[in-house]
């Protein structure tokens, strides 16, 4: 069961705005993720029930698209761009450095849940490659040193965006 709170109210509004259309499933999942941060099974069950869709269909859609997160992300999120330009400019070296420095694997979080490391599809800032996103800040022409420093700052400051 989904808890009756503000967030549920917001979600209900979104469902209504979309006329409870099956075809709006992606839009609804986008909004649901915006509201709740990620899509847990409770939330997906609720969406499935309201849209009168089979739960397996909703789960299938939610896991097909990599933008949807089914697990709660860490307090701080670092995302590496896997665009070609970033690859050519050796984003891989920076990602490995982050993994080693903070003991986190891409796609996962640190054991204390403070930091998650993801890869994203090209963010389109290719001319500034390589790009690393720390919380909501895009670091262009990124270097190992700058990125590690920025992450440490975020972790110490605890100032989440």
């Amino acid at each position: 069961m989904l808890k009756d709170d503000n967030r549920k109210g917001m979600l209900e509004k979104v469902l209504k705005e979309n006329d409870y259309q099956e075809s709006a499933l992606l839009e609804i999942l986008h909004k649901a993720q915006e509201i709740y941060g990620y899509l847990d099974k409770n939330l997906l069950t609720y969406v499935a029930n309201v849209l009168k869709l089979p739960p397996s269909h909703v789960f299938g859609v939610a896991t097909f698209y990599s933008y949807f997160k089914l697990k709660a992300p860490g307090q701080h999120v670092v995302t590496g761009c896997l665009g070609t330009a970033c690859y050519v400019k050796e984003v891989e070296d920076i990602m490995s450095a982050i993994e080693n420095e903070f003991n986190v694997k891409r796609g996962g979080s640190t054991s204390d849940g403070k930091l998650s490391l993801f890869m994203t599809r090209c963010i389109g800032a290719c001319a500034m490659a390589p790009n690393i996103i720390v919380d909501d800040e895009v670091i262009g022409k990124a270097t190992k040193e700058v990125v590690l420093e920025r992450i440490k700052l975020a972790l110490e400051g605890g100032a989440s965006a």
């Binding site: 839009e27 859609v61 761009c81 070609t84 599809r121 090209c122 963010i123 389109g124």
Partner: protein, 551 residues
């Protein structure tokens, strides 16, 4: 609103803009915002007030001019002075010297003339010039006049003929003749008919469509409405990547403006034409750019492509006739209607008319977004517009067409860029990604990178793409770890051929291109990896070496 009112808005806006002696265009697109473009914009607004020139100097936000590596970029008109890497601190000086004293600051200007001289801007003609948040700016540049021309003076069939005359081909990659596609949809039975504008620019290293949406959203909308008129569609969807928040915001605003001016709606410009547009958001699936997959996604399902026929022109969204076009194709339409198909066909080559936008990135001096006439050579793009390879390194290859494009060697640099020529050498036009790589990159590792990408993005429906690519990836893993055998090269070739021919959709059919082209043009590097366990770029065997070092 009546058709004639568009002209009135244009005239009014032109008068309004003429009142200003100068116009400062600050690029606030996704490329420049992370580097402080919004602060620069604010600094200009304050500076013109401080110097008391706000009555003669208009400060505007614009879309991308293309010089993305030296952002934030600012253009001061008249004269098109392009300032590069502007910081808020520098703004005061620029306003004082350039606007107040009339002395452009030469040392801060973008100096690479060649970046622009070889370009031909049709789709991007307004990019960096107009404020994408103001529909009046677009109308003042002649925007929506093509739509007015269509609905007041042309028949739907006439519009299709004009598009046919232009020779325009789909800019999404495959290059299907646009006019012919429109005919198919116009003739198809079933209603309502739909239009889907594809803005799911999934190719890594490509940002042309995003730039277009951020810089000139109304050109896409106008193109869609004209297409709707021509094919008889009532409803349109713009399918855009969720990773493009600024483009989404810009488009949302533009759609709202178009609705207010009745350029969209149930009775467009009081002519009885009905056409509405909704946005649909992608969610991180490269395959959703494929035309049948995009349909599934718009319908709210997993973006699995399906076998064709039936083609979307006959059976698309919810089984109804559907026109699917890339947004760059659509943004060409107002120009074609306005200036005529014949005018458009003068650009490019006879077989591939017009221009194409390319995202030029990688190891290159002037990365950015460019629009060039079809038929331009790769050498001109890389060395003239792109300014060659930085740090005195040596050119090695150019990747054309995104993750399923081809890696072309120096000997093919004089190849003219058109659909057929690229296909012949194993590359594709794709959505226009050109990535330059120098001798620091390993071609085996590069092919592996693209294979990894396609493995991750494969939808899993068909066997060759799902299982075949996964096996190819494993073989690459082995080769780059030092476990390669000569048979592996044969297996790569065999599997690539199978995946190309047997896959269900374009993703699988083109995914082996990087493997095939690197095997064709850089085979010696594979042999080195397998036989000598040597990587000339020093990218592979890393773990191997570090383990060896430990011992």
């Amino acid at each position: 609103m009546k058709p004639a009112d568009i002209q009135k808005i244009a005239e009014h806006e032109v008068d309004f803009q003429r009142a200003y002696k100068h116009r400062i265009n600050v690029c606030t697109s996704s490329g420049c915002v992370p580097f402080g473009a919004l602060k620069v914009l604010k600094a200009f607004e304050e500076a013109v007030k401080e110097f008391g020139v706000e009555k003669e100097c208009k400060v505007a936000r614009t879309g991308c001019v293309g010089t993305c590596s030296v952002g934030p970029a600012v253009i001061i008109e008249p004269g098109d002075y392009l300032y590069q890497s502007v910081t808020p601190e520098k703004v005061r000086e620029i306003v004082r010297d350039h606007i107040v004293l009339g002395l452009p600051m030469k040392e801060n200007l973008y100096s690479n003339e060649a970046f622009f001289t070889k370009q031909q801007r049709i789709v991007l003609k307004n990019a960096g010039k107009i404020d994408p948040h103001r529909v009046e700016d677009y109308i003042a540049m002649g925007g929506y006049s093509a739509l007015v021309k269509c609905i007041t003076r042309m028949t739907p069939q006439g519009v299709i003929e004009e598009v046919k005359d232009s020779g325009l081909r789909g800019r999404g990659g495959a290059g299907f003749p646009t006019g012919q596609k429109w005919s198919l949809v116009a003739r198809a039975h079933g209603s309502p008919k739909y239009i889907v504008a594809n803005l799911d620019e999934g190719d890594p290293g490509v940002f042309a469509n995003r730039t277009l949406a951020e810089a000139d959203p109304h050109s896409i909308i106008e193109g869609m409405v004209i297409a709707a008129y021509a094919v008889g569609a009532e409803k349109g969807y713009i399918y855009i990547r969720a990773e493009y928040p600024l483009a989404i915001q810009t488009l949302k605003l533009a759609l709202e403006q178009a609705r207010v001016l009745t350029l969209l709606g149930d009775n467009i410009l009081e002519t009885g034409l009905k056409f509405n547009i909704e946005l649909r958001f992608g969610a991180g699936a490269f395959v959703a750019g494929e035309e049948t997959a995009i349909l599934a996604s718009v319908e709210g399902r997993r973006a699995n492509p399906r076998p064709r026929p039936p083609y979307p022109a006959n059976s698309g969204l919810w089984g109804k006739p559907t026109l699917i076009q890339n947004v760059e194709t659509l943004a060409n339409i107002p120009n074609i209607v306005h200036y005529g198909g014949e005018w458009f066909a003068k650009y490019g080559t006879p077989r591939c008319t017009g221009t194409k936008c390319f995202s030029l990135t990688g190891k290159i001096n002037n990365p950015g977004l460019i629009e060039v006439p079809m038929g331009i050579t790769l050498r001109e793009v890389v060395f003239d517009i792109g300014g060659g390879i930085p740090d005195g390194r040596k050119f090695k290859a150019v990747l054309v067409g995104g993750p399923s494009g081809g890696c072309l060697p120096e000997t093919l640099l004089d190849l003219p860029i058109d659909y057929e020529a690229l296909t012949r050498v194993g590359a594709i036009m794709g959505s226009g990604g050109i990535v330059v790589i120098d001798d620091q990159s390993c071609m085996v590792d590069t092919a592996k990178f693209f294979t990894d990408f396609c493995v991750e993005e494969s939808c899993g429906r068909c066997n060759p793409c799902r299982a075949g690519l996964a096996r190819v990836k494993e073989i690459f893993d082995g080769i780059t770890k030092g476990e390669g055998k000569m048979e592996d090269i044969t297996t790569l070739e065999k599997s690539s051929g199978y995946i190309k021919e047997a896959s269900l959709c374009g993703l699988g059919q083109t995914a082996p291109n990087p493997v095939v082209t690197t095997l064709r043009y850089f085979r010696e590097e594979y042999v080195e990896h397998v036989v000598e366990k040597k990587c000339r770029a020093g990218r592979c065997f890393k773990n191997l070496n570090s383990e060896a070092n430990k011992q």
